[in-house]
């Protein structure tokens, strides 16, 4: 979400909606805008909204977007009847629509009817070869069946054409990590760093993967990228601060190397920032964390 103020506004609105007094239309719009996964609530509140004819009129042309939103949320909760109902309304309004076709494909997926889903997406791709959504659903089908190898192949094929799609690179990295293929995951994060050099997340993830790979050289790389993640997040990212301490601790234990003064200084700096944060926002764990950090320095 964009800011703490926005998040706070959303949370207050959500509480009111849950109590039955909030503006459901606004809440649903915010859920769509921030791409939040609130499937159970969207299904409940969305259905109530769609059943109310005066509220439906109030939505105007937005009603079709809400039908789509509720259809997807209902699938996520396995409320397939609700989903089917919404999709039928959309088919009646928009016959031969590719966008509605995607929903039909997703419903097959939700039912576990993989072959029908694949056929649907293949049809969509034949009509529109640049339909990125249909490609991604094919990856999702492979993942849902537990076939991570096929998911990887499908993603690689997709990225051959759509090489600037960050979401796809990120998904591929996560699948590689789940399979413990860390070098391949590192490659994906390298692509993401090249595409978005100032995004601390990519630097952090790259560092985490390098640390997991292990070995002196990878640990040095990890430390470098934890440091850049700290810089890019203005020292706010706790994982990168911890990561830097862990790297430095392992590197300083290496025998026969010249004392790495810069490394020790970095570790001290990171440790003091961590301790300050805990004292301010989590004092009940300050002693534990101080002790942990002291042990890393030894």
């Amino acid at each position: 979400m964009e800011s703490a103020a926005t998040r706070s506004h959303f949370e207050k609105l959500e509480s009111k909606v849950d109590e039955g007094v909030g503006n459901v239309i606004e809440w649903l719009a915010l859920v769509r805008r921030f791409k939040l996964r609130r499937s159970e609530k969207v299904t409940t509140h969305g259905c109530a909204l769609l059943r109310d004819s005066s509220l439906r009129r109030k939505l105007g042309s937005e009603v079709w977007t809400v039908y789509e939103q509720v259809a997807i949320a209902a699938m996520d909760c396995q409320c397939l009847d609700v989903s089917k109902m919404c999709i039928e309304v959309l088919i009646a309004k928009f016959p031969n629509s590719a966008r509605v076709g995607r929903l039909e494909g997703m419903l097959y997926e939700a039912k576990g009817q993989w072959q029908q889903a694949e056929t649907k997406y293949q049809t969509l791709l034949e009509l529109q070869p640049s339909d990125a959504f249909a490609y991604k659903r094919k990856v999702a089908i492979a993942k849902a069946q537990g076939n991570l190898g096929a998911a990887i192949e499908a993603l690689k094929q997709y990225l051959d054409t759509f090489m600037a799609d960050q979401e796809a690179w990120r998904e591929l990295a996560e699948i590689y990590i789940a399979l413990q293929k860390y070098s391949q995951a590192a490659f994906c994060y390298e692509e993401l760093i090249l595409m978005e050099t100032a995004n601390a997340t990519w630097h952090l993830m790259y560092a985490e993967v390098q640390y997991t790979l292990g070995g002196l050289e990878n640990l040095r790389i990890a430390r470098k990228y934890y440091a850049s993640a700290i810089k890019l997040s203005a020292g706010k990212n706790l994982r990168s601060l911890y990561g830097l301490c862990m790297c430095s601790a392992v590197l300083s234990q290496t025998k026969g190397r010249a004392k790495d003064e810069e490394g020790t200084e970095l570790q001290s700096l990171a440790s003091s920032v961590i301790m300050k944060k805990y004292k301010e926002k989590c004092p009940n764990k300050a002693r534990l964390v101080t002790s942990f950090l002291e042990k890393q320095k030894l």
Binding site: I177, A178, A207, E208, T212, Y242, C282, F292
Partner: protein, 204 residues
Amino acid sequence: MVGKYEIGAKAYLKAVLHAAKYKTCAVNGLLIGRVKGDGLDNFSLQILECVPLFHNHLALLPMLEVALLQVEEHFSTVDGGLQIVGYYHANERFDDFELNAVARKIGDHIIRYCPQAVILMLDHKQLAALPKSGSRKPVMQLYMRDVSRVWKQGGTTAELVFQDTTTNNLLEAYMADGRQRLVVDFDEHLDDISKDWMNRALFD
């Protein structure tokens, strides 16, 4: 290896509620307790507490190491001294019962410090069927490592039992109440330091 395995309500509830909170992810966590008896025969392992760890990137090392060290240190001073006695894991997919490779690796690591350590794999199907089945058994598969260093299911000679047989009733009550929303894991703590991975307020 012959032993008795018991799980306390707090530990069980935290683990299962953690999985219930993150239905669309694989989750994992540490099991804390004590072992009575020294060898690999005739011991009793009690799982008394639990620290939910991650719901993202379970196979990455750095934050796991941070968590292991902090959890170990914290519990060494609790209740006369408790140790890490196991690890729990819930796979991402509903129908996936395989003992995950990451789970095995982490289990191998924990065994170095606790030779009787166990891995508990959450059984999603049993959990989903709980309201109808009324089962008084934990919805988990217990795995132990045999002498050939292979993780195997406990079977009938090594069954996990509740310390309190009404634990599943409590679980159903908490889930009906939506208590899982309040579970905090180490991942969340790293994103917001004010969140308590010890979940001290969870059962208030």
